[in-house]
Symmetry: C2
Subunit: 218 residues, 2 copies
């Protein structure tokens, strides 16, 4: 039984490391997508778009592996909950990859023009920084199950919401001179960063719940 338990534990550890790897990839993706957006770099945008397949494939393989573990090991109680939670975290991380992909597609669509007017560059740069930070922290929380760190993501998300509101304040200012097309782009870009952060927070909340049995957002 000791040996079996240990083989099972190895499988769970393997799931965890793939989730951490996914976090690291989507963190890199949003970072590159932000840089491409701010510098109107088509080459970088194309890299982000092409790399999204890798996230999708990794997630797909991971989900198949998790279901296979459940079928073979027939875990109960906390092990089963951990595996079901891993399925949900992989869906969150895959969706974060989609958001980076969406940002890159707007960059490509507007190239060679910049999608972001100069007075919004700093706000978007900040949103990109918070997005990368929050994805990195999500990976760290998956790895460490550190519940204090999990709570930090709620605060980082408040920062993202503040930046998101700042975008709208600029869009709605009487001095806004960039027309409707840019307003649409910025609205969607803002939504993508906000959703990216929401999914990272969701990952942290799932870990928090797994460890404590309580919800972190109440």
């Amino acid at each position: 039984m000791g040996w079996l338990r240990s083989a099972f534990q190895d499988e769970l550890d393997g799931v965890t490391s793939t989730l951490v790897e996914l976090s690291s990839i989507v963190s890199g993706a949003i970072d590159k997508a932000t840089h491409a957006l701010l510098t109107a770099s088509l080459a970088e945008a194309e890299e982000v778009i092409a790399a999204d397949d890798r996230v999708d494939n990794l997630q797909h393989d991971l989900d198949a592996r998790i279901i296979d573990i459940i079928a073979r090991q027939q875990p109960v109680a906390s092990d089963l909950r951990a595996l079901v939670t891993a399925l949900r975290m992989s869906a969150d991380l895959e969706r974060m990859g989609d958001m980076a992909h969406h940002v890159a597609k707007i960059t490509r669509l507007r190239h060679p023009n910049a999608a972001v007017p100069s007075e919004l560059l700093l706000t978007i740069e900040e949103m990109g920084k918070v997005a990368k930070l929050i994805a990195d922290k999500a990976g760290s929380v998956i790895n460490s199950r550190d519940i204090d760190k999990a709570l930090e993501l709620e605060r980082d998300d408040d920062e993202m919401d503040k930046l998101h509101r700042k975008l709208f304040t600029t869009l709605l200012d009487d001095n806004w001179a960039h027309g409707t097309e840019t307003a649409i782009d910025i609205t969607l870009i803002g939504r993508y960063y906000e959703r990216f952060a929401d999914h990272a927070v969701s990952v942290a909340r799932r870990v928090y719940f797994l460890v404590t049995g309580k919800f972190s957002n109440q």
Copy 2:
């Protein structure tokens, strides 16, 4: 063993009927949210917002029930895949409820003004109709596992995408006279209907894959 099998089958059927019930609730929610949006009805918008808790609670209870079934019955192969798929469909349906909720919140935010200018009423009304239809079909596909019907949702989603593009054409027309705030609202509203339909299509694709072992979108 016959008796056990039948008790398990009853539990699977119970999961299916809760998923169908969730589809019906989110179909009603997007229908009412659309009507509230088109008529600037605060009372209806508030109803949709309040009712979203019911979807969240139903989904939460359903997920706990599914995990409990996996733990007790230790299903393998197709039964396990069906239960994992049910978890994913419940997440899709919960998200559809969120989208109806988001539409209702824009109605409430702009009340007593209408969020939608008159030249876009017909397009949004159509989007609402397609959204309701596609949610109803998703429920029907969950119930019947009819793969021909599952494929119909892909075509309905094409219709939604067409309507979504039409929204942007109107927003970007030189005659657009409603300012940036309304452009932002319409951009977000369009995104919410599109995502609502995407999640319904995702439900249909999951059923298609469960029945055929193949992907419907390739």
